[in-house]
């Protein structure tokens, strides 16, 4: 049975924790609004980019001469997984969800006897993956000191990936990130960026589009595809940023509520033991008086 003093200390410590989580929730919700806005604003760009590439790729008749970024190296042996996570914790299952999704994919790849290479973006993902998959991690990047991720950072990663690809370090590249659906739901995504995932069936009807190209198709594709990689990574950044804040907000909301419950419970215990102590003292006084 903890003493009255101990209980008092615990109550005040839980209360101050509650204050912190509450403040973090406020901060997250303010940041969320901004992040959500930019995620939604950023969506059209990557969607349109994808559309253009899909349309372009349909017009390519000579599949053998098509750029490697589009059709891949023709092999399927080495998989590069870019796992994009946050640099900060205390955001619920945000980082764990991405890692879980990535891990299940890693297992699949390894079971099939293929080579796995991991590129982590964000320190939390690296921390979670290094224990089990440390030997597969070829590169890591963390933007802890950058306040707001911009297109430049995405381009930096894009260039790294492109360089690796040109050195034929991998055949297939996938990125893992959380897609922001709403404040409570974030869906971990695995998106293949090299080669570009096969066109969906429903798009087939658009195949009769005739485009004029200036310069040639291949030239356009050669320029556009590397750019598309950065764009997709940037999209992942934006979605991730919004998801992180959303996830943190819900996590901190829950934490605040739990802390409140705990304070209530502890206060009841505190009051009970206080009363018990008083009763005990009274009994002692009374039985002392009786014995006289």
């Amino acid at each position: 049975m903890p003493s009255l003093d101990d209980l008092k200390k615990r109550i005040s410590s839980v209360k101050s924790t509650q204050k912190i989580t509450k403040a973090m929730k406020m901060v997250a919700s303010a940041k969320l609004r901004k992040a959500q806005e930019s995620a939604e604003k950023g969506r059209p760009f990557s969607e349109k980019m994808n559309n253009i590439i899909l349309n372009l790729s349909k017009t390519i008749t000579d599949k053998n001469n098509a750029p490697k970024f589009l059709i891949g190296t023709g092999k399927n042996d080495i998989h590069l997984c870019v796992v994009i996570t946050a640099d900060r914790g205390l955001c619920g299952g945000f980082n764990t969800n991405i890692c879980r999704k990535a891990k299940s994919y890693f297992e699949k790849i390894l079971k099939e006897g293929k080579t796995l290479k991991i590129f982590t973006v964000g320190s939390k993902g690296h921390d979670q993956l290094k224990r089990t998959y440390g030997k597969y991690i070829i590169d890591k990047i963390s933007y802890k000191n950058v306040k707001k991720l911009s297109f430049l950072e995405a381009e930096e990663i894009g260039k790294k990936i492109i360089k690796l690809f040109n050195d034929s370090q991998f055949d297939v590249c996938k990125i893992f990130y959380n897609k922001f659906k709403n404040v409570i739901t974030q869906i971990p995504q695995a998106q293949q960026i090299i080669p570009i995932e096969n066109l969906k069936k429903e798009d087939e009807k658009k195949i009769e589009n005739f485009y004029e190209f200036e310069p040639e198709e291949n030239e356009i594709l050669n320029d556009l595809l590397p750019r598309n990689i950065s764009t997709q990574i940037f999209k992942a950044f934006l979605e991730n940023a919004a998801s992180e804040q959303g996830s943190r907000m819900t996590a901190m909301d829950n934490a605040t509520r739990n802390a409140g419950d705990l304070v209530d419970k502890l206060t009841i215990t505190y009051n009970r033991s206080r009363q018990a102590a008083i009763t005990k003292e009274l009994i002692e006084i009374i039985s002392g008086a009786e014995s006289l």
């Binding site: 930019s38 349309n55 004029e212 356009i220």
Partner: protein
């Protein structure tokens, strides 16, 4: 008669401009290009230059563009550019900085012909803005 078509200028961060236009002049890779309604479907690149939008109400908007991709399809013109800036928002200092950066690069002898081509157009566009 309806002569307008939709134009969207989109950067990775946001939609910079969206609306109806009568005519658009854009600095395509192989020369200036004018686009009116019912233009043939086209995909092309942009080189540095000035993109001019003649809006449905007769007013014009000008954007300085460093690079980008353009798709015209079904009377919708989509301009994807990481560097589109409305001329109104471009300060004198920013122009000077751009000018200096471009000139510095151009004086470097190691650059390829392609880069030189792009940089020359950039300088030209900057000159045009200044006038």
């Amino acid at each position: 008669m309806e002569e307008n078509f939709k134009i969207e200028i989109i950067s990775p961060e946001q939609i910079i401009f969206s609306g109806d236009a009568k005519a658009v002049t854009l600095p395509s890779y192989e020369g200036e290009m004018g686009i009116l309604k019912d233009h043939i479907s086209i995909i092309t690149f942009l080189r540095p230059g000035i993109l001019q939008v003649k809006k449905a109400d007769g007013n014009s908007e000008k954007f300085f563009i460093e690079d980008g991709t353009v798709e015209f399809f079904d009377n919708i013109l989509v301009v994807l550019s990481a560097s589109a800036i409305n001329l109104k928002d471009l300060s004198k200092e920013a122009i000077d900085n751009l000018n200096k950066a471009a000139q510095d690069k151009l004086s470097n002898k190691d650059i390829s012909d392609h880069d030189r081509y792009i940089l020359n157009h950039k300088l030209e566009a900057i000159k045009e803005i200044r006038v």
